[in-house]
């Protein structure tokens, strides 16, 4: 099995110097600080989500919920169609992930295994596009998705009364298309580095046995690079799940909002129902937490491939 670029036993610094109890204590303290820093804001939201409404505005503030309740979670679904938000997020993210991994797999195969001329130029171009500010996409995509008439096609034989793109605002496609475009570069970089790890002999053997190049890709290379596929898929999924600006601008209808956008609509003009917001955030984070718990090493290796190659 080809392993990711950082195997299970990463060659790191063995440890801080063994000497001295003080040094070890200091190290432990630092580690605790890291953990607290990373987890505290989320834990605080989790605690808040179990508190009664009155408890939030009582002084002095309490740390653990005095009277734990699940009413906030009920309120999340009552005040807004949160189940719909979750569904939208899942549909958009999974579709974007599948499409991206398919295309990035083909591109990564070409770049990683075939002796292409201009490989380096293409790879540099991909790295450059992965740095592309998505904010710049906002204006052209907004116009495009509202439906644009294409003048040079209009008036032709097939489209006598004008031809234009359909209005895609408030559809899943309005999000899937830009998410695929934004994730393709990073996914391609990750998969290219994975394909490069597979030994040439395997594929040669398959070709000798009479399998076509594409057949070898699907029967031999794809299964072998499954870890890479999973890594790329996770990173694309997380990126798509978290995207905010485009989702906020393109899908304004309530029933088409994704989770990050939907959550910002729990606050009123002057009221912040923090307990409910916390509960909603907790629910929205759960899929991500599950992902990073189960695929910790894969995510790190994926970011490694994407980062260091860049």
């Amino acid at each position: 099995m080809p392993r990711s670029s950082s195997p299970n036993q990463p060659p790191g610094r063995r440890s801080k110097p063994q000497g001295g109890r003080a040094a070890r204590l200091f190290l432990l303290l630092a580690l605790v600080l890291v953990v607290v820093n990373g987890l505290f804001p989320s834990l605080w939201l989790l605690l808040t989500s179990f508190k009664q409404d009155g408890e939030l505005t009582r002084l002095p503030i309490t740390w653990l919920p005095a009277d734990p309740t699940l009413q906030n979670y009920v309120a999340v679904f009552e005040r807004n169609p949160f189940a719909l938000f979750l569904r939208n997020s899942f549909v958009v993210s999974i579709a974007a992930t599948l499409i991206t991994v398919l295309f990035a797999g083909l591109a990564g195969y070409a770049l990683g295994r075939l002796k292409l001329r201009g490989r380096k130029v293409i790879l540099t171009g991909i790295v450059m596009t992965s740095m592309f500010p998505s904010l710049v996409l906002l204006v052209p995509l907004y116009r495009l998705f509202r439906g644009v008439e294409i003048p040079w096609l209009s008036g032709l034989l097939f489209f006598p009364e004008g031809f234009g793109t359909p209005n895609l605002l408030n559809t899943y496609w309005a999000l899937i298309i830009p998410y695929v475009a934004l994730s393709l570069p990073i996914a391609t970089i990750i998969l290219t580095s994975f394909f490069q790890l597979i030994p040439d002999d395997l594929e040669a053997a398959a070709t000798v046995d009479g399998t076509s190049r594409l057949g070898a890709l699907f029967r031999i290379i794809m299964p072998l690079s499954a870890p890479g596929m999973v890594t790329a898929a996770i990173i694309v999924f997380v990126n798509s799940w978290n995207e905010f600006l485009l989702a906020l601008t393109f899908n304004t209808a309530v029933e088409m909002r994704t989770v990050p956008v939907g959550i910002t609509f729990y606050q009123g003009q002057f009221s912040f129902p923090w307990a409910v917001i916390s509960a909603a955030v907790t629910l929205g984070v759960i899929p991500l937490v599950l992902l990073i718990i189960f695929f910790q090493q894969k995510i790190i290796s994926g970011l490694t491939a994407g980062g260091v190659k860049g």
Binding site: G12, A30, S42, T264, G284, V308
Partner: protein
């Protein structure tokens, strides 16, 4: 990927308001940029007015540049001279006696400044926090998985969520930050040091006053992005060969020397990658200020991203495209700056 760039460039040369379709989408040259940088109201300087002197002035810049170079001026000096001339030309072009000499779209310059400030503060902050995070996540320890989880969770959190989380932490009456500061007695110190109008009954009004809001939003961004920087640096650390440390230890180098002489130099590529990606995402800062203050208080935290979003929402597409071009120019400038830095060293 080239299409949106060209489209947005083309768009930025047009007037287009989706709520005023009867006005069409006339070509207005650089008027959107004139409005942005030198501040006339829309169409006040349409092509019909004064286009000849403007074109002449702009065209004269090229010979001035060539003359400056031929005349043996150093390149840096020639750049400065040209910039001065461009600024002077712009001032002349934008000057309107009836309106005084107000410079530019104030909202654009405000968003430009706050974006630059956030870039500097959060990139430096994320790096200073991310490096120790990476070093500690690389330490062998039975609880390594927990440390890595703590490193990954901020990375995986949607930026809106972390923004909301920090808005709640920094809430002035019932937020945990003010509570902790109060318990440690720091609130009394802050009350003495900071201006009176920033201080409420339960501590600093974090999100309702301008400077504290910038601090709070910066901290939220730093918290969120330091994990990304940390992960990239961790990858760099893992690629450093262990035998180097062994050799250094045998030679009697202490931990501090090993860090400065081995870790940092070998970490350079990873550091550059992390800095480039972090800076380029910082240019687009949108989610955290939007979630925490909605760009407020007032317009303090209206970053370039938020301004573009609001302009698109106001259906002023042409001007939004011009703003997007400005943002693109900034990120291009930053990329070139970093690339030159890298290639100078190699």
């Amino acid at each position: 990927m080239l299409y949106p760039v060209l489209n947005v460039l083309w768009q930025s040369l047009h007037f287009e308001r989706l709520n005023q379709p009867q006005r069409g989408t006339p070509f207005i040259g650089l008027d959107n940029f004139v409005r942005m940088l030198w501040g006339r109201d829309e169409m006040a300087w349409s092509l019909s007015k004064l286009w000849l002197p403007r074109a002449l002035l702009l065209a004269s810049l090229v010979p001035i540049w060539i003359a400056a170079r031929r005349g043996g001026l150093k390149r840096g000096l020639a750049v400065v001279a040209t910039v001065v001339l461009v600024a002077a030309a712009g001032w002349l072009l934008g000057y309107h006696p009836a309106e005084g000499t107000r410079w530019g779209d104030p909202r654009f310059w405000n968003s430009f400044n706050i974006t630059l400030l956030l870039i500097v503060v959060t990139v430096v902050g994320a790096f200073l926090l991310g490096l120790p995070l990476a070093l500690l996540a690389n330490v062998k320890h039975p609880l390594k998985w927990l440390v890595r989880l703590a490193l990954l969770l901020p990375w995986a959190m949607p930026r809106v969520f972390s923004g909301l989380a920090f808005a709640w932490l920094f809430q002035s009456d019932y937020g945990v930050v003010n509570d902790l500061l109060g318990r440690m007695g720091i609130n009394h110190v802050l009350a003495l040091v900071l201006p009176e109008q920033w201080i409420g009954p339960r501590g600093v009004y974090w999100l309702a006053r301008d400077v504290p809001a910038v601090v709070a939003v910066s901290l939220a961004i730093i918290w969120k992005t330091s994990s990304f920087v940390g992960l990239i640096l961790l990858a760099g650390l893992q690629s450093i060969d262990d035998s180097l440390y062994e050799a250094a230890r045998i030679d009697g180098a202490n931990a501090w020397q090993r860090f400065w002489r081995i870790t940092l130099p070998l970490l350079r590529p990873a550091i550059m990658v992390a800095l480039i990606f972090r800076t380029l995402t910082a240019v687009q800062t949108f989610d955290e200020p939007f979630a925490m203050t909605g760009g407020g208080p007032g317009r303090t935290l209206e970053t370039l991203g938020i301004y573009i979003y609001k302009t698109v929402n106001g259906l002023d597409i042409g001007y939004a495209a011009a703003l997007a071009v400005a943002l693109f120019a900034i990120s291009l400038f930053i990329t070139i700056f970093y690339l030159r830095w890298i290639y100078k060293d190699d």
